[in-house]
């Protein structure tokens, strides 16, 4: 079974501060890992996926296979980063993504 855990429902930081959104997963095979973001009143969109190893909008995510984590980080948060962030996992020939419950990030001025 696939499971994704985002331990923080809410996360509040000040502008310019570093931010880390945690994601842990359980999966027996090799996972495909994603971060999706939902800005207020907008559709979900892909932020980044671990296989591409890109940095999008200053965010990076490190896949730690040892502790099965895929935390999302940004060194200097901006107010426009305020949004709901979802970690997601897919694997093998499975056709679905399993989403975590999401973390609502608020960046205060």
């Amino acid at each position: 079974a696939q499971r994704v855990t985002q331990p923080e429902k809410l996360l509040s930081v000040f502008k310019g501060a570093p931010v880390e959104l945690k994601c842990n997963y359980s999966y027996s095979g090799s996972p495909e890992l994603f971060w999706y973001v939902q800005y207020s009143r907008q559709r979900l969109q892909l932020l980044l996926r671990h296989i591409s190893r890109e940095s999008i909008k200053g965010f990076t995510a490190d896949h730690n296979k040892g502790v099965t984590s895929f935390h999302l980080k940004k060194p200097f948060a901006q107010e426009e980063d305020s949004a709901m962030y979802y970690c997601a996992l897919g694997g093998g020939s499975n056709y679905k993504l399993t989403f975590g419950k999401g973390t609502l990030l608020t960046v205060n001025p």
Binding site: E32, R43, L44, G90, K96, L97, F99, K101
Partner: protein, 113 residues
């Protein structure tokens, strides 16, 4: 040129009614999905179709019936609506059906009174 579109955007209806939500994607993707986002923003998959065939059915009440007339469309019909069906329903598509980037529609906010 919207990639994944849903209609209607808002749907307000009475308990017991039957309603449909339509989804269309013009990306040429093979796989389409329906997700339900509840009031706590928890996002959960309901169905997935690959080339018009049902792939995933995640313990959804049989009042919910997806229909895929072709691979660009995946509609969701809901019979005998209940208060607990109130949620935002998102349609999504992905290129090859394997775990891949999913492209989401704007969502349909369903309110059952």
């Amino acid at each position: 040129d919207t990639a994944v579109s849903q209609t209607p955007k808002y749907l307000v209806t009475q308990m017991g009614n039957d309603k449909s939500i339509k989804c269309e994607q013009n990306l040429g993707h093979d796989t389409m999905y329906w997700y339900k986002q509840d009031s706590k923003k928890f996002l959960k998959i309901m169905f997935s179709y690959n080339n018009k065939e049902l792939i995933i059915n995640e313990t959804v009440p049989n009042r919910f019936s997806p229909k895929s007339p072709d691979k660009a469309h995946l509609n969701l019909h809901i019979n005998s609506l209940e208060l607990g069906d109130s949620a935002v329903y998102f349609c999504a598509s992905s290129p090859r059906g394997l775990p891949d980037t999913q492209y989401f529609g704007p969502g349909t906010r369903l309110t059952v009174l």
